[in-house]
Assembly symmetry: C3
């Protein structure tokens, strides 16, 4: 298992970590298999979406903010970041990508995004490789 560090700069922010994940795969000897990317935080998530146009990341965050507003008198969690926890469960805590010929089998427009919902913070992402025995 490897761990990478992500420094977020905004309260809500999607950060493309595709290069970092591909670098870990390239540094390993894995030709084919699955790469598992896991976020060990409860106010952040991870998703795969379009990396070419940054407005997509903006729209994802804006819709999440509308659906799960930061302030709501009905929230019971006393730390003030209930919305970040809810968003984490809507988006999810891990993604997996198939690796083939040493490369991530992402679609043309896909990138892997760390989702900060209660930043800015210094965050961690765990990465575990599962080689497939092609023997």
């Amino acid at each position: 298992m490897e761990t990478i560090t992500v420094r977020t700069r905004e309260h809500s922010q999607l950060i493309d970590i595709t290069r970092e994940i591909q670098a870990l795969v390239s540094e390993s000897s894995m030709d084919a298999g699955i790469v598992n990317v896991f976020v060990p935080h409860t106010t952040a998530g991870i998703t795969i979406n379009e990396s070419a146009d940054p407005s997509v990341a903006h729209d994802i965050l804006a819709v999440l903010d509308r659906l799960v507003p930061w302030r709501d008198p009905k929230y019971r969690h006393s730390e003030g970041n209930a919305a970040a926890h809810v968003k984490a469960s809507l988006v999810g805590s891990s993604v997996r990508v198939i690796v083939s010929s040493g490369g991530l089998k992402l679609g043309t427009w896909q990138g892997i995004f760390f989702c900060e919902f209660d930043g800015p913070r210094t965050r961690k992402v765990h990465v575990a490789l599962q080689p497939v025995d092609l023997g």
Copy 2:
């Protein structure tokens, strides 16, 4: 890794691909393990839900349309399909199912659905098998 093709017919559509996934497992020599199903698109997703009653798929799409309407002047993504991108991140890009005795360990009512959010299109689904060594 195998790739199957899915032709969607509607703008928003859930298509049951359980049979195609089971067929790939059956064609392999895998008795036990995990099958990973991955969508390499940013305006489509994949989910597991009830396959017996097609009204469930209808209701899932209808709620997503209400929560993430197709038109919203606040969207910044200029291609007009921001809603499809947001839905892709809410639903997710991959599912995994446990394989036991050569069969998908789905619940009685569960099926695997490709989720088209910006169709109709011809789409791809990647499938990677991870046999478990029971030795």
Copy 3:
């Protein structure tokens, strides 16, 4: 593959099953790898979120109820639990956690929660271990 039983007591309820999952890992001989946790139901889900403060689970359920109300004349599914199906697809049917030195590599505040959306019921959770050969 192992299967654990979860008895839910409420109509909507998040139940922390982290100890049960860790127990299965501990009982196995797996030192490192991935544990896959899969819900074979279409009106339940599974998520990873904060386990220290139960108000977080409350807020997650409350927001889901607001976004996907139990009653809506537009639902077509005739069994009356369309909302539970929609929530299942928003939250997802499986989670994975990295195992290292025999322990779940969860963050400090993370727990694994079975998500009941149409209870109370007796439910099942399938667990499949994927050891990594560190040879």
